[in-house]
Every structure is written in C-alpha cells, then in structure tokens.
C-alpha cells in the first residue's frame, strides 16, 4: 500500500513537472520545417541554398545583411565609407562582438574570411562575388579597408549574401559539422536526415533573440509536410511545398498563412542553340502558346505572379512586358508555319524535382501540343538535371526557378545553359556592372529586360510565391524571401 502510494505520488509529481515544463517550453521554443536539408553547415564553401536557410542571420552574419524587405542594411559593419572613385571601402565594425566559442570578432577575421573566399583553391560557390577584390587590409581592430579592381555598384549587396558571412580561423576546420558564427543563435545539434537544433546566444552583441531554442526539421515530401502541419507536429513551415492545401490552412483558425514573394523567376528555359529553338520565330511561337495563368492555377493553385521577363515584379525597376508573350495559340501556329514548321516538331522537356516544374511541365506540354509541338517529358533528379541540362546542355526545354536576387546578368554569359549570345545585351550588362548612379542603373536594367523579352530567350512564366504556414500565435516570421534565409532573430510566440 505504502509502496503504491509512493509510486503514484512520484508519478504525479513527474507528470505535473513535465506538464509545467511543457507549457513553459512552448513559449520560447519553436519547431520550424524546411523542405531541403543542408548537406553540411558551411555557407562559405560548396554552399547549397539550404545551408543559408538554416544558418543565415541566425548563426552567421556578414558585413552587411538583407532585411525582410530585401534592403541591404548594416550587419557586422555598423557603417562604411566609399572612396570617390568607388574602388575603396572602409568598413567600421561593431565592437564587443564575439564568436560562439568566446573568441572576439575583429578586422582580422574579416580579412581571413574575404581572403579565404577569393583564394585560388577556394570552394566558395559564389566566387564571382569576391573576384573584384584586389586587396583586404586591416587598419585597426575595428576597421577594414577593401580595395576593388574596378568600381562595383553591387559590392555592398554582394557582401550581404550568405556566401560572404564572416568566419573565424580558429574554428574553420570543422565548420562543416560544427559551425561557429557571431549570430543571435548558436549551433547545438544536427541529427542528419532529421533536424538541426539552435540555442539562443546569450552573449549576442545585438538585440537578443526571443526564442530560447529553435529546431529546424526537414520534410521534403509535400504530403508529409501537409500531415505534419495538420497534426501540429511542427509549429511552422517556411516554404510550404503543397499550395493545394493552403486554402485549408487559411480557413482553420489554428493556423496563419503568409504568402510573400521570392526572387525566384520560374522560367521555361530554352536551349537557344538547339534547332529549331535557335529560330527566334519558333521561340516567339512557344511564348504565345503558353497560358501563364493556367500554369499558375494548375501547378501552384493560384499562387505566383506572372512575369514577362527575367526580373522580380515587386522590384521598382520591373518592366511589364507580358504583352510580348500573351496567350495567343492562333498567332503561335501562324508563326510556326512561317518558320517552316506547319507540321510542328518534337523536342525534349526535362524537368527537375520541384512540383512547379513537374506539374507546370505537364501543363505546358499540353499547351504546346495544342499548337503542334510535341514534347518528350523526362522527370529527372537534381543530380541528373545538373549533369544533362545544366552542364551538358543536352535539352530542348526545361523549367526551373532562378532564385538568386538580381540575376539578370546570367543572360550575358553565352556559355550559360540557355546559350544565348547577344552582344547588345552583353554591352548593357557590362555598363551596368560599373555604373553606380541609381537613375542610370534603372535605365540599363529596363533596357536589359526589354532585350531578353523581345529576343524571346526563354518562356517567362511566373515569380515563385513563398508560402509560410504557421501556428496562428507566432509573430515575426518573414513574409518574403529576398534571399534564402529563415531569419528567426525577431520571431516569438504571442502571449
């Protein structure tokens, strides 16, 4: 009798304490899911976007950083001076900044990070961001001078990228599995294939985070994502992969749905050197055969903004050129017969894994078939897609979303997988790179958009939407995704 009573009592105590702990923990811990798991934890070498999605701004910080509206704001550098000719930048660093292992962050670390990124043997995925740097000089422990070979209007923008975050030489060796940065959260644990846990950095130099612990879970399967969210196994999903379920979450008072924009232009990439796609009339015919709204409705259940060129529509310099490629199948057939293809032709349509590509691909195939163009669809995994389409350029058409901000410059590279070679366009981009006057930059950007629209380089479909589903009580989540990041520094539970 006495034994049983003791047992019951201890069970009761245990249950109550767990209960109390449970109720308390819900307020300062959060589980947020992402589709893709990072392959490793170093944003500065061989980086996949998924690494930034977990670590950018949470664990690692750069000289500058992106705010939720895409603006470039001070990061580890609190201010800077730019020389008259635009080639010298002096960054003033914040003081009393420490890395998560306790060591101080100073100008030497900045020099180390930048030199490492631009070194001969660097495996930084965005080496181009650093190639213009001629020299990095430590002026004082909180002052760094960066000299560029030629002026670059996007330099501050470039330094906000995840590949440019500041790292420390003391902890660089196992950064891939134990990342040590300066951010508001520090890395705690990684269960490969499942989750990554972050803990609040109590010694953070800036405004401390609200959350004590943040857990990132990785769920790539759209139906698993839906089930997990519905069953409330997770508190939020950033970049929810199944737009067909968003309406259901919206009508459920337990959840909130945020739909923001991304820098992802989803395009029907066309191999400009593969006949008959090398004929601009044929490409124009393809453009008019496509009904953008049907694709947005069918593949994305209405989420997404149609675009007429390779530029983000929420950007002030965007030019609406959709009329150049409006839905007109009759015109399409006419153009095809003018080009000598009244019987139509067959080409390949190779699709990577995301559902915008797989579903969008089926819809486009059907639209092209209606004007006589047959497509052979192959659904490829990313590895095969990179091999065959991106590097091998062995494709006719493909669908992919280019998520880097301000990446219209890729059209100036003739060896890029579109294989578009226009000296007029290349001249525009060259001028843009050295231009720092904002008005002149706007004009050049507009001109660039017009050229690629009128050359019908690719089929411009829509700007990818960024849906986030979360518990209705969470505040501070970013609505937009100006860069690949899940910034949790200002996220908290409402009381």
């Amino acid at each position: 009798m006495k034994y049983h009573f003791k047992l019951l009592l201890s069970a009761g105590v245990l249950a109550t304490s767990l209960g109390i702990q449970g109720a308390h923990a819900a307020k300062t811990s959060m589980t947020i899911a992402l589709q893709l798991e990072p392959p490793h934890l170093d944003p500065t070498s061989a980086a996949a976007g998924a690494i930034d999605s977990v670590l950018y701004s949470n664990v690692f910080e750069g000289l500058t950083r992106f705010a939720s509206d895409g603006a470039v704001i001070p990061g580890l550098a609190k201010s800077w001076e730019i020389s008259e000719d635009g080639t010298e930048y002096i960054f003033h660093l914040n003081s009393a900044v420490t890395f998560h292992d306790g060591s101080t962050m100073d100008a030497n670390d900045v020099k180390f990070s930048l030199d490492r990124a631009r070194a001969e043997d660097s495996t930084n995925a965005q080496k181009a961001l650093f190639s213009g740097i001629k020299n990095v000089e430590v002026l004082a422990s909180d002052k760094v001078k960066v000299t560029l070979a030629s002026p670059n209007g996007s330099f501050l923008f470039n330094m906000a990228w995840g590949d440019a975050v500041i790292v420390a030489p003391e902890t660089i060796d196992d950064i891939k599995t134990n990342p040590v940065g300066t951010g508001a959260f520090k890395f705690s644990n990684w269960v490969q294939g499942d989750k990554i846990e972050l803990l609040r950095n109590e010694e953070y130099w800036g405004k401390p985070a609200h959350l004590e612990t943040a857990t990132f879970k990785f769920i790539s399967d759209p139906s698993a994502a839906f089930s997990a969210m519905m069953a409330q196994d997770i508190d939020a999903f950033a970049g929810f992969p199944a737009p067909e379920n968003l309406a259901q979450f919206e009508s459920d008072s337990r959840f909130q749905v945020l739909v923001g924009n991304t820098e992802g232009e989803t395009i029907l990439s066309t191999n400009n050197k593969m006949p008959p796609l090398d004929n601009v009339k044929v490409r124009k015919a393809i453009a008019h055969a496509i009904d953008r709204q049907a694709i947005i409705d069918g593949a994305m259940f209405g989420y997404g903004t149609p675009i007429g060129t390779h530029f983000a529509p929420h950007h002030p310099d965007y030019v609406d050129l959709k009329a150049n490629s409006n839905y007109d199948p009759e015109l399409s057939k006419k153009l095809l017969s003018e080009a000598g293809f009244s019987e139509g032709f067959t080409t390949t349509l190779k699709l990577p894994p995301p559902s915008y590509a797989r579903r969008g691909g089926e819809i486009i195939a059907s639209q092209l078939r209606a004007v006589g163009i047959e497509t052979e669809i192959s659904n490829l995994e990313w590895a095969q897609w990179l091999e065959e389409v991106f590097r091998g350029k062995d494709y006719g058409l493909t669908i992919v979303s280019h998520t880097e901000p301000m990446d219209i410059g890729i059209y100036a590279r003739p060896e890029y997988y579109f294989q578009y070679d226009s000296s007029e366009f290349q001249a525009v981009i060259k001028a843009l790179n050295v231009e720092s006057n904002p008005q002149k930059r706007s004009d050049l950007l507009r001109k660039a958009q017009r050229i690629i629209s009128e050359d019908y380089v690719n089929g411009y479909l829509f700007e990818l939407a960024f849906p986030t589903v979360a518990n209705a009580k969470i505040m501070g989540l970013w609505e937009n995704a100006p860069t690949q990041a899940t910034d949790l520094t200002d996220v908290k539970w409402a009381d």
Partner: protein, 275 residues
C-alpha cells in the same frame, strides 16, 4: 468445402475488369488523357465523369483505363523476361545437377535474391533514367531467379521419374529430354508461378511509379496517380482511393486466378501425366 473453381471463377472475373479496360482504352477513351483542362479540375463524381476529374481536369475513368495498359504491359513483359531467362537456367541446372554448373546457377540465384530489389530498381532507374522500359528491366531481373529456382526444383523431381530414365537409356540428349519431356510437365507449375509473379509485378510497378520511377507523363500510371493524389487526400479522397482500388482488384484477381489454376492444373488431382 471450398471448391477450387470458386477461386478460379472470382479470379477470372476480377482480372477481366482491368484487362477489358486496357483493351478498350486502346481504341477508345471517354476523354483524352493528354488534354489538360485546368478550369475543369477536381469535379466530383457525375454522369459525364463517373469517377470525377483530377487536379488537372482529366477524367479519372479514362486515366484508370489507360493506366491499366501501363501496369499490365510492364508486369507482363517483366514476367516474360523471368520466364525467358529463368526457365532455361533452371532446366540447365537440373540437367547438369550436382556439378558446378548447377552450383553456379544456384549461387547466382542466391546472389540476386540477396540484393534488396527496391534499392537496385531505384539505382537502375537513376542510371538509365525513369521510364516504363527501365521499370520492366528492373522488375524482370528479379523474376529470373524465381523461375530458375522453381523450374530447377520441379525438374529435379521429374528427372527421377521412370519415363525420363527410359528416355536417357534410349540415348536422348539432356537438351532433348529437357525440352521434350521435362518442360511440358512443368507447364502447370510455370503458369501458376507466372500468374503470381504477374500480380507481384503489378504491385512493384505501382511502387516504382509512386516514387516517380515508372512510366513518365503524360502516360498515366496507377502508382503515379496515387503519388499525385497524396497531398489532396483531404480535398478529394477519391483521387487516392480509386487508383488504389484498381490495383487491389487487379492483384486480387491475379492471385485468385493463380490459386484456382494451381488446384485445377495439379496433376495429382487430375490423375494423369504427359508422357
């Protein structure tokens, strides 16, 4: 008392459903499955669309009918591969029983059996690209040892029979004996096994298609229909239920057919033996 013919009757009946659907769909489909009509999507069950429409506006009944073609074709050819390569292997092994050919063939069998079939199937499609053809190869490869083992086993016991020994004494070669005397008496076992492997092939094709490694769009496939339907299970459960039931009916029918045939063709019940 369970009469063998009940299984057989039910089996034939159930099998006929997908077979007839597949055959009809060669010549006529209620709606064109390659035509996507987004504005018509997710329509409920109606007279025009007995199973409703899917998320792309395609008629579900037409999708099921054409999907039957895919499943049946893949499973059938995969069985064909198993029989074509497996039976001769089994017969050779039985002919040269006890020697290292027999041993080698049996070890080869064991080796193939040891491989996790799904993983290898995924690997094959990763190498060669996803397609119905590659699914056939991947499934067919694992049918070979099944038929090799079963023909060897049955052939071995036949080789002990008197009429075989007398043929040997008469001077017939192993090859002739195998083809003229052993093989015909294996047929009933092979037919039954083929039906079973056929049903397993349908399940395997569905599984491979489900993870995206079978027939590619726009060719409909039951497995892929299930994968597409998964996120919409709460919006329109019939999208997931209908292809699942189609698979179940086909596999069930084939299994019942196999059982029924086994009882019907068993020589011990029939009482005669082909000499």
């Amino acid at each position: 008392m369970i009469r063998p013919s009940t299984s057989l009757q039910f089996g034939i009946l159930l099998c006929l459903i997908p077979m007839i659907m597949a055959t009809i769909s060669f010549f006529w489909q209620p709606f064109d499955v390659t035509e996507l009509n987004i504005s018509n999507r997710l329509q409920p069950v109606s007279l025009t669309h007995p199973f409703g429409t899917d998320h792309f506006g395609r008629d579900m009944l037409s999708m099921i009918m054409v999907g039957a073609q895919t499943s049946i074709a893949v499973a059938f050819v995969a069985v064909g591969i198993g029989v074509l390569f497996g039976v001769p292997l089994g017969l050779f092994a039985a002919n040269w029983r006890g020697g290292f050919i027999d041993d080698g063939i049996m070890r080869f069998n064991d080796l193939v059996f040891a491989f996790p079939s799904l993983v290898i199937a995924i690997l094959i499609t990763a190498i060669a690209g996803p397609s119905a053809f590659n699914a056939i190869v991947a499934i067919g490869i694992f049918n070979i040892p099944v038929f090799a083992r079963i023909s060897r086993g049955a052939a071995l016991s036949l080789w002990q029979r008197e009429f075989i020994l007398s043929a040997q004494v008469a001077g017939k070669t192993g090859l002739r004996i195998s083809t003229e005397h052993v093989l015909p008496n294996l047929m009933h076992i092979l037919i039954v096994q083929a039906t079973i492997q056929f049903s397993l092939g349908i399940l395997a094709e569905a599984g491979l298609s489900y993870i995206g490694l079978g027939a590619q769009p726009p060719t409909p496939s039951w497995g892929r229909m299930l994968a597409d339907a998964q996120t919409m299970v709460s919006l329109a459960p019939r999208l997931a239920i209908v292809p699942g039931v189609a698979i179940i009916i086909t596999v069930l029918g084939l299994n019942l057919l196999g059982d029924g045939l086994r009882d019907a063709l068993d020589p011990k019940l029939r009482g005669s033996m082909k000499k």
